[in-house]
């Protein structure tokens, strides 16, 4: 059985380490916050200008001046700090963030990532995604292994316009996990979802990877 959204978030959370500064993308990556192991100190950065992003507020305690990068209402922690957009991206571009977890439309075998536009459709923009993948030390992608139409998303080369070249370090799909020790290496299949066979993964993965 393929991994669920919650399973994917829990798996991505295993990449967290004590003391990490982490940026979580919109969607499943946001759920990773629910799986930070008790006792582990992880600081979440929201690129709109907040370090130490707290949980959603209780009803009635929402503050319009306090949102995350997904524009959702959040709360502050005793350790929270706020800063300008330029300072926020100095943290990101300057390599001060340890880990970014984000979604993708396509990942290529060389680590290229596409997640911001589909030609011919309305383009909403890349937001902070290009800055994050270019600047954050370790980039983890969480995505479905295939599209809704069943097309593979882990490919030989991205067909969609790129967000970044050679930027993905770990790929978590609903079927498998692929990692590579450095950005000069090929991805290696390291985990398989329960009930999923290596043959099935092979048949749904045009990208070259090590078994």
């Amino acid at each position: 059985m393929p991994w669920s959204r919650e399973d994917l978030a829990a798996r991505a959370a295993k990449e967290l380490k004590d003391g990490f500064y982490v940026n979580l993308g919109i969607g499943i990556p946001t759920l990773v916050a629910n799986y930070i192991p008790p006792g582990m100190h992880v600081v979440l950065q929201s690129e709109n200008g907040m370090l130490g992003t707290g949980p959603f507020p209780f009803e009635g305690e929402e503050d319009p001046d306090l949102i995350n990068a997904g524009k959702q209402t959040v709360t502050a922690l005793p350790t929270t700090s706020y800063f300008s957009s330029a300072d926020s991206f100095a943290m990101i571009r300057g390599g001060h963030i340890n880990l970014a977890i984000l979604g993708a439309m396509e990942v290529a075998e060389n680590g290229d990532l596409a997640n911001w536009m589909i030609p011919g459709k309305m383009v909403k923009g890349m937001g902070g995604a290009m800055d994050l993948v270019a600047g954050v030390k370790r980039v983890v992608v969480v995505m479905d292994h295939t599209s809704k139409e069943g097309d593979p998303k882990f490919k030989k080369a991205c067909e969609l316009p790129l967000t970044g070249t050679n930027v993905v370090d770990l790929l978590i799909t609903d079927l498998a996990v692929f990692s590579r020790p450095t950005r000069r290496d090929l991805f290696k299949l390291i985990e398989v979802a329960p009930g999923v066979t290596r043959d099935e993964i092979r048949s749904k993965t045009p990208a070259k990877y090590l078994e």
Binding site: P55, E59, E61, M126, G135
Partner: protein
């Protein structure tokens, strides 16, 4: 002593600085920290053909959405313009232009513009559409893209508190692009929730020093719309922090 920077309201603050075809910076992230009063007054001024530098394009009929609806914007320079049907319609009809900037590149272009820096080389966007038509340079095996500083004729910013000298303090994530934009325009107009006399604000706590602000108003009737209201249930012992 009354400061020459203080104006009675948004409409009078805009007088003499607004021109058709001008480039405008507008603070805010989504609808958080947007200069509501100044945008409304800009809408009422009827100014047209604006090039607007703003992270987003507002929502339908809210924030910059007001200006879009009235066809006052010719071009947006933004990082993300989702959640706005009118923008989408005008864009697909070729009525409005968009230049996408990676969010951090946009912030840094504004910072550079305000700091008198012509441009900078960044690896953000290298090898993507963002680099097309731009000078690139490869140093030590890494490719960088030349991004130019960004300046505007007018910047509209929103702060929490300000004094009559134009010193500003922002609140929480409503800060976002506001302090950077305040530095990068010929004329910066600030609106604040609370306008105070000099000496009330702690000099160590000022985010935007008054030199960057030419005109300031006390804002009124803030809507402070929440784009995505997310809450958590009060469940005893629950560790879930996001929905």
């Amino acid at each position: 002593m009354t400061s020459k920077k203080v104006y009675a309201d948004a409409a009078s603050a805009l007088k003499g600085v607004v021109k058709d075809g001008m480039t405008l910076m507008c603070g805010g992230f989504g609808v958080c920290g947007i200069p509501e009063n100044l945008i409304a007054a800009l809408h009422d001024s009827g100014v047209r053909n604006l090039t607007v530098v703003s992270n987003n394009a507002g929502l339908d009929g809210v924030g910059l959405g007001l200006l879009l609806k009235a066809r006052q914007i010719r071009k947006m320079i933004s990082s993300y313009v989702g959640e706005n049907k009118e923008f989408e319609r005008q864009y697909l009809a070729g009525e409005v232009e968009i230049e996408f900037n990676p969010q951090g590149t946009m912030a840094e272009r504004i910072r550079a513009g305000g700091a008198g820096i012509y441009g900078f080389f960044t690896k953000v966007g290298a090898g993507t559409q963002v680099a097309e038509g731009k000078e690139t340079r490869t140093v030590d095996g890494e490719t960088y893209v030349l991004e130019k500083g960004l300046v505007a004729d007018v910047a509209l910013v929103k702060a929490w508190k300000g004094d009559t000298e134009g010193n500003l303090i922002y609140r929480k994530t409503a800060r976002n692009f506001n302090p950077n934009m305040a530095t990068a325009a010929q004329v910066t107009l600030a609106e604040v929730e609370e306008l105070v006399e000099p000496g009330v604000l702690d000099g160590d706590s000022i985010h935007t020093p008054g030199i960057f602000v030419q005109r300031i108003i006390q804002g009124a009737n803030y809507t402070k719309m929440i784009e995505k209201r997310t809450v958590r249930k009060r469940v005893e012992g629950s560790r879930a922090v996001v929905a």
